[in-house]
């Protein structure tokens, strides 16, 4: 199937327009200069509409799916500092959907940052202790049962295979935007640095569909991401949608950088990355994921010095408020 046919098929997927502008590809020339890097850019998906972040792109495709299946509410499961709870709850309220959130390991945590915003927008936020967090599947069943008794028909976003595929499809749009931006800025052979999730896989999928000459470096920030399983889902569903054999493999990644042991932790080097980006480049990096990409770049300047590096900044700014006191400003 040629590019035109793929695009034609892609455009048939139902989509809501939540993002009415192209997010900037910002040159981080001051940081690049400081660390002797040839080129360092950031795709500012923190500047999508609503409260920013990759979720805005995701829900452009998730919302029509939800509506088409006659769900009247969303149920999601997140860690207490996760972004979906804030952006999705806000978007769902604007689209006449109720939103219920189960947050793991959140009992007794102070309502700041993400939890605060989630609580503002959600119908209910269930803050789980360690016991229920480790028995999450049982807890989800109980919540779904209760919601159904109260006339809610919720879609469970968590680990939903359809949703995983829709999220990755959403990042095909981001990939096309990026490709156009690379052409305008004459950026050749870019190295895409992104946290390992559906956004990453969407960009990888697009690079295979459209034969982009891109290299990928994946940053693993949490251990419970099952990349191989997600790859399988996307391969199968891409075959059904585009009638093309897409094969993912570990060789698609130039490097996989695993920082999952530090999930939810703001280390000293992460703090430095946040301060550097905010002071020099006017970017508030998400302390959970995007700052870890910049930390990786700073740690690996020698081997990355001659590359065209593209950080995909997929987080929202809200997460910074979880950690304000930790920044010791």
């Amino acid at each position: 199937m040629n590019t035109e046919k793929i695009l034609k098929k892609y455009k048939t997927i139902p989509k809501y327009n939540l993002l009415n502008h192209i997010t900037p590809l910002q040159n981080l020339d001051k940081i690049a200069k400081q660390f002797d890097l040839q080129n360092l850019y950031v795709k500012r998906d923190d500047l999508t509409n609503f409260l920013g972040g990759e979720e805005v792109r995701f829900y452009e495709y998730i919302l029509p799916f939800i509506k088409s299946k006659n769900y009247n509410s969303i149920l999601n499961v997140n860690d207490y500092h996760s972004n979906d709870g804030i952006v999705a709850s806000m978007i769902s309220k604007k689209n006449d959907l109720d939103y219920f959130l189960i947050t793991k390991n959140a009992a007794h945590k102070h309502s700041s940052g993400n939890i605060l915003i989630s609580k503002l927008f959600s119908n209910e936020v269930h803050s789980l202790d360690e016991f229920w967090s480790s028995n999450i599947d049982d807890y989800i069943k109980r919540v779904i049962s209760d919601l159904k008794k109260n006339n809610f028909n919720p879609i469970l976003i968590h680990k939903n295979e359809e949703i995983i595929f829709l999220k990755s499809l959403a990042y095909i749009n981001a990939a096309m935007e990026l490709n156009a931006q690379f052409e305008t800025k004459k950026i050749k052979k870019p190295y895409i640095l992104c946290t390992l999730n559906e956004s990453f896989l969407g960009l990888l999928l697009a690079s295979k569909l459209f034969n982009y000459d891109w290299k990928f470096i994946g940053i693993q920030i949490e251990s419970n991401i099952n990349l191989e399983k997600m790859m399988e889902i996307i391969e199968t569903k891409s075959k059904e949608l585009f009638n093309i054999d897409i094969i993912f493999s570990s060789k698609d990644l130039e490097e996989k950088y695993d920082v999952s042991n530090d999930y939810g932790v703001l280390s000293e080097k992460n703090k430095q990355a946040i301060l550097l980006a905010s002071e020099k480049e006017n970017i508030l990096l998400n302390p959970l994921n995007d700052c870890k990409i910049l930390s990786y770049v700073i740690e690996n300047t020698k081997k990355l010095s001659d590359k065209n590096l593209i950080i995909i900044n997929t987080g929202t700014n809200v997460s910074i408020y979880n950690y304000l006191q930790n920044l010791n400003l």
């Binding site: 500047l47 806000m90 309220k93 102070h110 940052g113 605060l116 503002l120 927008f121 119908n123 020099k280």
Partner: protein
């Protein structure tokens, strides 16, 4: 005065010439007007909600518009070092700090309010701003000391509050913004909109735009202290800077006096939560939540006409939410 305004409206091009001050473009998208309908909250009225949160999520929409002109002035005069005297102007402090980071400027903020734990100030520091806390009576001395210290290194300093653009920028910004709003108002088919805001520059800028264009726009301005004579002085001063003469009609502006009682603050919080929880909208806690409170009170008391076309301007910036530990 170079320009005398006749009875005929000025064209948009003529207005652009009047406000032709140095400017750095910071806002690249228009902010939408969405229609809110909710019998419980607004009876049978439609509320047209202009959301300035949409300009940029690091910063306040209203301040960002002003700073297009302020940064233009700084750039034009070739300053690199800025001082801003803040009287608890948290939205301006954080937005200015953010932009100074982006434009490679050094910013020092003198804050005369006591509450420096505010999230806005932590974010300002994150953007590299140096923040000094000072009692009001020593602020000027502190500014002079900073200027002297910089002079020793042959650095000249731009004290924002002392520049003529400081008081003019917000009005310029909202005259300019009037062009976008007029087009949206036309598309919505509104004949005689009533703009609600607690932001002085928003009201005065849009008011001047409507007077220059001879539009049938009305305004409701929520303020704890402003009086018509203050508005008149501000407008005359702005017109002098714009070298423009204009007969203006202040009856188009209705002032609602804000009650500063503590009890009201609790009601503001309830409105913030109500809007988030039912509409997916974040009201700015410094100003918009107040104007929404008074709008809802007026609706509740049947003081708004059925055919009134209310255009509510949410000035943007949600950072303040994180300062209030007991908000929920």
């Amino acid at each position: 005065m170079e320009r005398i305004i006749t009875k005929d409206p000025l064209s948009k091009e003529e207005i652009k010439k009047i406000i032709d001050y140095p400017k750095i473009k910071l806002i690249h998208t228009s902010t939408s007007i969405e229609i809110l309908e909710d019998k419980k909250m607004f009876s049978n009225l439609k509320i047209y909600f202009k959301d300035e949160n949409q300009v940029n999520y690091n910063t306040s929409g209203t301040e960002l518009r002003k700073l297009e002109y302020i940064l233009g002035d700084i750039n034009n005069k070739k300053y690199r070092d800025i001082i801003y005297l803040s009287k608890n102007n948290v939205n301006m402090s954080v937005t200015l700090s953010s932009l100074c980071s982006k434009h490679n400027l050094k910013i020092e903020i003198i804050e005369i309010s006591d509450d420096l734990d505010d999230s806005n100030y932590i974010i300002s520091k994150l953007y590299g701003a140096k923040i000094h806390k000072s009692p009001e009576e020593y602020a000027k001395k502190l500014i002079n000391k900073i200027i002297r210290d910089k002079q020793k290194d042959l650095i000249k300093t731009y004290v924002l509050n002392e520049q003529s653009i400081f008081n003019l920028a917000g009005i310029l910004a909202y005259i300019n913004y009037g062009i976008e709003i007029e087009e949206q108002i036309e598309k919505l088919g509104l004949k005689s909109p009533n703009f609600w805001s607690a932001e002085g520059d928003t009201i005065l800028g849009l008011y001047l735009y409507s007077q220059l264009r001879k539009l049938r726009w009305n305004f409701t301005y929520i303020s704890s202290s402003i009086q018509y004579k203050d508005i008149k002085i501000k407008i005359l001063s702005a017109l002098k800077h714009l070298k423009t003469d204009l007969d203006f009609d202040l009856s188009k502006i209705n002032i609602i006096k804000e009650n500063k009682a503590i009890l009201i603050k609790e009601k503001y919080k309830k409105i913030l939560i109500l809007f988030a929880n039912t509409k997916g909208l974040l009201l700015d806690m410094n100003s918009s939540v107040k104007s929404m409170f008074y709008l809802m009170e007026k609706i509740k008391n049947n003081q708004i006409k059925k055919n009134e076309e209310i255009v509510f301007i949410n000035s943007g910036n949600f950072i303040e939410i994180f300062s209030d530990k007991d908000i929920l």
